[in-house]
Symmetry: C2
Subunit: 484 residues, 2 copies
């Protein structure tokens, strides 16, 4: 990519024309295509790989939705848009994207219905254990630490993780994310969207007044000039697979496990920046910690100094973010015999690295400075024994009991495998997916969605907010482009 | 600012012509002007306010230099470029700017001599106490935690904070930063640079091939088109005074004390971004903690949970960054009678907020969860008593002694006044100040320096690296523009 902007579009001979071009066939791009089609726009999706799906199809499929969706109602769950917004404002900060959160929560019930209308199946059953994903095909779960401190003090907790049901022969092979994009792709096709595979956007074409009028795409080695009469929607994912961009913006992610596809190279972000587009939160990232949350809640998590730093029943993505960025990824999980579950440990390839007859012996085995880890266990135990509470870090009383007998530690400093990361920063867009120029005006004809943008998961992350944001604002971006 | 790019420069009628335009008359801009003049270029500085100085003139004037400067030699200090580079690579990460660090350290001795040749005075005397600035007019000090863990294990510590001497009637009124820019401004004038005050850049002018050919400036309400035959150097500071940009990139800085001038509104960064310029580390910031380092080293610093998180003899800017971004700014300094120094406390308007007969009583007074702060003090004391060491956080043994008798706590949760901040992110530039486009090419004719760029203080900060980087790479940017 040597030029991000074709400056003489008056000379451009268009090979293809359509109303709306959507770049990327993950869930954001597919939702954008559907949004454009709903506005009567002829729509062409350009997908770099040989098939739809992107990073969305690899994911667990959680969509963070609420406010009283039909699924929540069917599971007997009470929720309100206000409670949902209060949680997201707190959990995605500092600096939550208030405008996006508010409209997202306000229209979340409708968005769920729209996903169902696109054919995405959800089973009306609540999974009520701590976990990254449901154990089976349950459709609803807690997935952001709503029911843990400090969020349980801010608004009424409700499970808001909506998980597409894995059905048919695919069960056990494909996950909820695959089901989500499968149905969106199928519906986009049924409703008349075209899709060009093996087609990557190389440049944005702008006219003399700076309006985006199309793209130069490369297909099977040949450049194609494609005109978009109404607009171009960029939805090609984030940039976790671009180490140069990580070096510039988020060096703490270098060398970590990357979640996504190698298409997550930030191309769309850079193409838009070439037109003066503003970016936001480029250092933000999710850092999912690769350990079973059922183990976390039963243990004490300490950092390299032997001190605790968070309530272990918090959202494990939040634990991962804190551990990676604030504690250099140096963390250990302490468990006694009653808390250790070999199956849960093995499911993530983990085991005990050290065992001691008590905390003093354990800290010696771990070669930690004498006394710190002992004090951590003693203080926790003293409150657990006397009151069954955890006043220092506010773990829910249901998980609080003293560690007793021999104590073991799981080494979670597993280097690049412990933290599974993807980027949260990207283009600065309006609630209609319009891309903002650094001087504040909107770049006419240009829209973006999904992790190409900075969205609901602004600084903090919550499971399901990426797919939720991508489909909700993707559809809106497509609709806005389709109406232009 | 409604348009960052004049797209029809062929129609531009130039009001003024020169070789090199420098925007901003802080130390980066003044060094750039000198660099351009040294290459024989006619140079015009555009300064938005009514006088030179900018944020540089408000600062303490520390320049982080070393490798064996004549000042270090005169103070009997051994240093090497390698030791300096090893320290800066560790202290400014994660993701240090290796290329800039290496040339900066390699040529630091020359840069010091150049500053002296510009008339900047330095007194050959070492100040050997912990502090933000020397107590008097000493010219050299430790200023980055070189002599504290972990940096003292990486390379030979050396004092590298070079402080311009306050001389004449200005002593006690103006600081070292004022002396630095005073002499640079005087020398720039003597060597023939022109300067237009009350002159702000509104737009960059580019020709049809994307080369920057000049600027549109506003002076006393009138627009002026100024041609730069060779180049434009942007050096108008960072963006800590632009809350919209903080919201986008560094929301944790909102509501904190800002260091700089209201000219630090990121204008130059946005102007260059309008041309597709790449930015880096936009979330990075210094957060100087407003407390006397002589108090810090004598106490125990705990966060809102009652636990320690850093060696108290570390560089206080590092303590501030950690406290603000990783501990929500919730910190307290514990001191016993032997450690408390009322004068040092008062100099920052501080005093003891709570006192207890022992740690147990103190934590009750502070309404902290029972046992955590006690354990923190007990564990520290047990090692201090037995071995005079601090194995958990590695405070230098010279500051390690058990806290005894009544213990008091200074409340450092002083809200917006505790952390004095400025931004470290900005334009992505080469070691010659050339501005990189997001697609990797250099934007011809455009240069930048100082906190308009992402420089040596990449993620971590060290006192003196901002002025050091600004003058060193400012001069190089001016020279590169002057030679074009």
């Amino acid at each position: 990519m040597t030029d991000t902007q074709a400056r003489k579009p008056t000379g451009t001979v268009w090979d293809v024309e359509t109303d709306v071009i959507v770049a990327g066939a993950g869930c954001a791009g597919l939702a954008a295509a559907l949004g454009a089609i709903e506005r009567g726009a002829e729509t062409l999706i350009l997908e770099r790989t040989g098939g739809w799906g992107g990073a969305s199809a690899q994911s667990g499929g959680l969509l963070y939705l609420g406010g009283g969706t039909t699924l929540q109602q069917a599971c007997g769950v009470n929720d309100s848009p206000e409670a949902m917004a209060a949680f997201l404002r707190a959990a995605t900060g500092p600096g939550p994207n208030i405008e996006k959160i508010d409209i997202y929560c306000d229209r979340s019930v409708d968005h769920f219905d729209w996903l169902v209308s696109c054919g995405v199946p959800f089973k009306a059953e609540l999974y009520d254990e701590p976990g990254w994903e449901p154990s089976g095909d349950q459709g609803l779960m807690y997935c952001g630490g709503e029911n843990a401190y400090p969020f349980n003090t801010l608004s009424e907790p409700a499970p808001r993780g909506h998980v597409p049901q894995m059905t048919g022969k695919r069960t056990g092979v494909k996950g909820g994310g695959w089901m989500l994009v499968h149905h969106l792709a199928k519906m986009a096709g049924l409703r008349g969207s075209s899709i060009n595979y093996d087609s990557s956007i190389e440049r944005l074409v702008v006219d003399d007044s700076g309006i985006v009028t199309g793209v130069i795409a490369r297909r099977y080695g040949t450049e194609q000039a494609i005109r978009a009469r109404r607009g171009v929607v960029l939805a090609t994912g984030g940039f976790v697979f671009n180490d140069d961009m990580l070096s510039e913006h988020a060096p703490h992610l270098l060398g970590r496990l990357k979640l996504g596809t190698d298409g997550d190279d930030g191309r769309s972000i850079r193409l838009a920046q070439g037109l003066g587009a503003a970016v936001a939160r480029m250092s933000s990232a999710e850092a999912a910690i690769s350990v079973d949350p059922r183990l976390l809640v039963r243990g004490l998590l300490v950092d390299g100094t032997g001190q605790r730093f968070i309530n272990e029943d918090s959202y494990p993505g939040r634990i991962g973010q804190k551990a990676m960025t604030e504690h250099d990824g140096e963390i250990f999980l302490l468990l006694d015999e009653a808390g250790y579950d070999e199956d849960a440990a093995r499911s993530f390839g983990l085991g005990l690295s050290w065992v001691g007859a008590d905390a003093a012996e354990l800290e010696a085995e771990m070669e930690l400075p004498k006394g710190v880890l002992q004090a951590t266990v003693d203080v926790f135990n003293s409150h657990a024994e006397a009151f069954g509470t955890d006043p220092a870090f506010h773990k829910d009383p249901k998980w609080v009991r003293p560690l007793s007998g021999p104590i073991g530690a799981i080494d979670l400093r597993l280097g690049e495998m412990t933290f599974a990361t993807f980027t949260l920063g990207g283009l600065d867009t309006t609630i209609d997916g319009e891309v903002r120029h650094v001087d504040g005006h909107l770049i006419e004809g240009l829209y973006a969605a999904g992790r190409t943008t900075s969205g609901i998961p602004a600084t903090g992350y919550v499971s399901g907010t990426s797919l939720g944001d991508a489909t909700f604002f993707g559809r809106r971006a497509g609709a806005a482009a389709g109406l232009r």
